[in-house]
Amino acid sequence: MSPVELVAEDGMIAPGAAPGALDIRGLTVSYGERPAVFSVDASFAEGAMTAIVGPNGAGKSTLLKAVLGIVKPLSGAVSVFGKPFAATRSRVAYVPQRASVDWDFPTRVIDVVLMGLYRELGLLSRLRASDKARAEKCLERVGMSDFAGRQIGQLSGGQQQRVFLARALAQGADLYLLDEPFAGVDAATEKAIIDVLKSLKAQGKTVIAVHHDLSTVAEYFDEIFMINVRKMAHGPVREAFTAESLQNTYGGRLAATQIDQLTLSAG
């Protein structure tokens, strides 16, 4: 574990350590007086595809939110491509949990995707045809072209998730943070999403996704980050996804037989 002293005052990583896509040092986030994430150090290399895995309430979503500045950490520093997040915001895309918004909101699919262009559009500039074309292209990548004009409340859960992914694609980022992108989606959507994520990886983008399905970790991701308030393991799936780290992360929640099956499929 890298010592906290590596961090310079302003949150930059001290010279000597090559910056990754995302570097987290000594990050603690607390709701009230109960830390949800405690003293986490991690470095996510550029171009890697990482699953963040852990039991319910282990701080997976909180970790992402702290990185994105949505919740304020109690201590620690985050840097994105070697700079504080506020300076590299435009290189980061975010897919929140689908259930975090009200899908009866009066808006259409294409309008949600266009929200991904907010940083470029700002307050006043009018939408140009090229902006719309870009949003439509993103919908096409997730197989939702036919739904551009639909009210978002008419979509199935899987379709909603794909719209969120299209909005993230519209952000044109280099680092993608996804919170449970596969939660409660149909098989076709799961495949569509993983195809997009793999194509992002092929373009050299960095993908970090909170993931709940241990049985698909090895198939979908090449790195795994295991967390239960503290970091439990981090590394290539083949090395870090072990019976021991599973037992550490999940405690008694996973039966020994389940662990055997999971690590077998990973190996």
Binding site: K65, L68, G69, I70, A86, R89, V92, Y94, P96, S100, V101, D102, F105, P106, T107, R108, D111, V112, M115, Y118, R119, L121, L123, L124, Q151, G153, R167, Q171, D186, A187, A188
Partner: protein
Amino acid sequence: MLLDALTLQLGYNATLVAVGATLLGISAGVTGTFLFLRKRALVSDAISHATLPGVGLAFIVMVLLGGDGRSLPGLMLGSALSAWVGLLAVQWLTERTRLAEDAAIGSVLSVFFGFGIVLLTVIQNMSSGRQAGLEGFLLGSTAGMLFSEAAIIAAGGALSLALVLLLRRPMTMVAFDPGFSASAGIDLRRIDLAMMGLVLAVTVVGLKIVGLILIVALLIIPPVTARFWTNRTDGVVALSGLIGGVSGYVGAAISASAPALPTGPIIVLVAFALFALSLLGSPQRGVLAAWTRHRAFQRRVHLRQGLLALASGQPIYEKLTLRLLQRADLVRPDGVATEAGQARAEKALLDETRWDVLRRSASLEGTAAFYDGLTRIEDVVTPDQLDEIDAAIAAGAEASS
């Protein structure tokens, strides 16, 4: 008389009030839309009640300074300041204590309002306060409105409208998805405070016309009404402004057309009438449409269940089912299936068998999720796939015979 009022033929004061009420209605409708979308409509109630102490204190200060305590700009400034304090109190209680927002709103609203009433009573007993007429701010009072007052209302309404339109993009994003908006660099606190500040401005502007108790209605009813007719944010904003403006105009006209009709409450009732019409009549979200849709769906279910019962020779006990089958000439009054009924029943049974095959087929596994007892299998598989399914059924029948 009402026609005269609607065409602004009722004289100077009535025209001033109508123009002021229209502008107020538009800006309240547009501003209120974002409050409604952010699901914080009730905060406006706290803001409006928190204006009252400011009105009283401003009056006292102006009198002590030797001026006329009734000057509208002075009263508006005072009410804005105390409403701002009330807003910050709600914000602070919600963020920094364990009180939930509804409890914070309730506490701030009642305490500020109570304090305001005490001040008003004190002013009533001051020698210079007898004719103050400050209680007009509770429900609005438009009699004897001055041109300068109407001009202030118009300018304030127009300014807040312009600011809302300027901030509509970030306000929409924050209302829909605060987490994503924060990650994209929008400062949630600032946008929320700006939104509340605009609501506050509209409230203060509206004090003279509708009063602090009813201004909430003009902020909330128009967007809620507009939502019945459109699924787009821009649509709700525009329609809500229109509904607010029409309510203000028509309400002011009606109240001018007869003596002793209060302007503010009439405006609110006009807005409510539009709301009631929308609630009943909206084709997508209205109560009548929902009821008709539910009935139609219920009939489909009963008919389908009845046909399947006929096919398997089971007796039908449900009265509604029997009635529907009889009305469609599928069953005779004695409960025996007609020829058409027999044919439809066999088709229903065939469809169920087809779904069974589909469910077991490896290649069509995904399609099985469409089964809900009502969806036509022809709508979810291609004709070729249907032929395959029928072939499988035939093969199965041969094997078992």
